[in-house]
């Protein structure tokens, strides 16, 4: 090792000691930070470059990126087993925003509040900051932002002189009309995600909200409007039985539905912002034929709202290098890093200013529009028990959608089960 390198690592060693870390590395030993994340979508993964940048800024520090399982449910199990009651082998972790209260309450995350500068979180979407906050403390830095969108085929709607629908009823009407006139048996009406997984809960929540039926209220009441909730489920099931949505909807996740729409086989699609980049990419069958709008509401009901989502970066409470880990999280959520990620991996930034960034807008002129919709989005229930709630309702929703249970019974069963499990927590 060169004299310079040796000196630098010594310096880091001293710095780390000064930072008051227990178990500081031995003399001259380089610090390794482990970063757990799911591989970011996109062919040009910008992450390795960003990590190398951080290493260049912090001589003597090595960052090791470790990939996680791909689905949100598998990731959650990974964290639960790995973090519960022990030192995990990583310092910085990517987490789905819905987990923040749970992880914070369990004591797995480092409280970032003391590390933050005043106003540091102001540039982020208020909703992402809210989902990174629990018990008035901040536990993670928002990394990317997601919001449910309704994609539609501009060419087909224009052909029949239609405006994008703002209610589900209008959407069904338009789908019928267009499919009737197009006479293309391969053309489906409306695609969404009905497979039994977290994505299903998001889709059903959007339908519940549009029908004025919350899943769980702030004071913990479960399905306070059971009749409206059942009605929303019946409506979703009706989309499938009436043929507006294909039967395989009950096995569809984001990618399956995105692909079918991208191949030109559907008029409407509910999906996240990343889909737009793929539709507009070279060789896409629907290039320049797609636009998005807000998730519809119901006729005589509330206006629609897309569910928000996204990933945060947190620091393990047992990290041996908390200062450096916070610095890494900060580096990766910086404006520069988020711009690189938005350019390379199609993930939407959690910083609002980037939606009006000239470079990004040039690449994706819909950014300002997306900004407005993201601001209007609605979060899933913010509770430490979110995963328990979601895992409990998933099979019930799924049973109603595939038609093995009447919607009323599905809601009743979900209420009974949730009542029991949440009761056990008190």
């Amino acid at each position: 090792m060169s004299a310079w390198g040796y000196g630098a690592t010594r310096l880091i060693g001293v710095l780390v000691l000064l930072a008051g870390c227990a178990g500081s590395p031995g003399e001259g030993e380089p610090v390794t930070l482990v970063f757990k994340y799911a591989r970011i979508l996109g062919n040009a993964d910008p992450l390795p470059t960003l990590l190398r940048e951080f290493e260049a800024q912090h001589p003597g520090v090595r960052v090791k990126g470790e990939a996680m399982p791909w689905t949100s449910d598998d990731q959650h199990q990974f964290y639960v087993i790995n973090l519960e009651g022990r030192s995990p082998g990583f310092d910085v972790l990517m987490l789905d925003c819905i987990w923040t209260p749970e992880f914070a309450r369990a004591g797995w995350l480092l409280d970032l509040t003391p590390y933050l500068q005043p106003g540091e979180l102001a540039p982020f979407f208020p909703s992402t900051v809210a989902s990174a906050t629990y018990d008035h403390r901040v536990w993670a830095l928002p990394w990317n932002m997601n919001v449910g969108l309704l994609f539609y085929r501009t060419d087909l709607l224009a052909k029949y002189g239609l405006q994008p629908p703002d209610t589900y009823e209008a959407l069904v009407e338009q789908a019928r009309l267009i499919r009737g006139r197009e006479r293309d048996p391969a053309l489906d009406g409306y695609l969404w995600q009905g497979k039994q997984y977290e994505g299903l809960v998001v889709n059903v929540l959007e339908a519940l909200w549009a029908n004025g039926a919350p899943l769980i209220t702030d004071d913990g009441a479960v399905f306070p409007e059971p009749a409206r909730a059942a009605d929303a489920l019946r409506f979703l099931r009706g989309l499938i039985t009436s043929g507006v949505s294909p039967t395989w909807t009950t096995a569809a996740d984001e990618e399956l539905s995105r692909r079918a729409f991208g191949d030109g086989h559907a008029i409407f699609l509910r999906n996240w912002p990343y889909a737009r980049d793929l539709f507009e990419s070279e060789g896409s069958a629907v290039r320049d034929k797609v636009a998005f709008t807000a998730i519809p509401g119901r006729a005589r009901g509330e206006p629609g709202a897309g569910s928000t989502g996204g990933a945060h970066l947190g620091v393990s409470r047992r990290s041996r290098h908390p200062e450096l880990a916070v610095a890494l999280a900060r580096h990766l959520t910086s404006e520069r890093a988020q711009r690189a990620i938005a350019l390379g991996a199609a993930l939407s930034p959690s910083r609002q200013a980037l939606y009006h960034d000239p470079e990004l807008v040039r690449r994706n002129p819909a950014m300002p529009r997306l900004h407005a919709l993201a601001l209007a989005g609605r979060p899933r229930p913010i509770t430490p028990y979110y995963l328990l709630v979601s895992a409990t309702v998933q099979p019930e929703f799924s049973a109603a959608l595939v038609g093995v249970k009447p919607p009323e019974r599905a809601i009743d069963d979900a209420r009974a089960r949730l009542g029991h499990f949440l009761g056990a927590l008190r």
Binding site: L41, P69, I81, R86
Partner: protein, 273 residues
């Protein structure tokens, strides 16, 4: 039957069983198919064969490390189970042990033990001993789970050894350890091989415990790595096919090269009483 008919019958049986193994061969073919042709059938056969999926799996995934973990854990499990189980099996087969009937019943009963029944306490135990995500933890669990079958099989094989050989040795003044080492073990070799193979396969294939107790590349075994094989945009069918071929490599080698021992062990496990 005339010889020609006989040969025809033999060919038909082999063809039928080869057809039975099509799921495996289809995956084997898939693992060599170019990416662009994966979702496009017909034609069934690819225009050319490629190693690109294997390259991805070996260079960019956890698989090589998982192979190493599985190899290590399965070998250690086999060793531990044999070392611990052999004396026990000898006692069961040869010695008057008080309450032997109950002991045998307990051994049989524990071969029927469902993994799910002990996974929650074992999780707490692993957590308490800080053995999560280590080879040691998984080896302990696998070995103890395999132990009843190991003892059962070995006891059966020991009973097959003519007792006269041991008696002759003890007449010659050889102690228990010596008799064991120089008389029992050599005669037992084929039985040991059969038992070792079955234990190895159990550990190699085991999923529920491995999925629960391993979290990172430090100890993740191959079935778990395969089950969680990451996809980015879409399911990487070709890479998964290559990975599953790697995961079934040792079982396939055993079946092809050591079939005799495998069948012997399988049959012995069911029949010996």
């Amino acid at each position: 039957m005339r010889p020609a008919t006989r040969t025809l019958a033999d060919v038909v049986v082999i063809a039928a069983l080869a057809a039975y193994a099509i799921p495996f061969f289809w995956q084997l073919l898939t693992s060599f198919k170019p990416e662009a042709e994966l979702l496009r059938i017909p034609p069934l056969l690819p225009s050319r064969l490629t190693l690109s999926h294997y390259r991805v799996v070996l260079e960019q995934s956890l698989m090589p490390r998982a192979l190493l973990n599985s190899l290590g854990i399965a070998t250690l499990t086999t060793t531990v189970a044999l070392v611990v189980g052999l004396p026990g099996a000898y006692a069961v087969a040869r010695r008057p042990v008080p309450g032997k009937r109950w002991l045998l019943l307990a051994i049989v009963a524990s071969t029927a033990f469902p993994q799910i029944a002990t996974v929650s306490p074992l999780y707490l135990l692993m957590r308490g001993l800080d053995l999560r995500d280590t080879w040691t933890g998984l080896v302990l669990v696998h070995a103890s789970f395999a132990l009843p079958l190991t003892v059962w099989l070995l006891a059966g094989f020991i009973r097959e050894i003519p007792i006269e050989a041991e008696e002759a040795a003890s007449v010659d003044g050889a102690g228990l350890v010596k008799t064991f080492r120089w008389v029992v073990v050599p005669l037992l070799a084929p039985g040991l091989a059969s038992t070792a193979l079955l234990t190895f396969l159990f550990s190699w294939n085991e999923f529920l415990f491995a999925y629960t107790f391993t979290v990172s590349e430090a100890s993740r075994t191959i079935p778990v790595a395969l089950a969680l094989f990451p996809g980015v945009f879409e399911v990487p069918w070709g890479d998964i096919a290559a990975a599953s071929m790697l995961a079934s490599l040792p079982p396939v080698l055993i079946v092809v090269a050591l079939q005799r021992f495998l069948v012997r062990g399988l049959v012995a496990g069911a029949v010996k009483e």
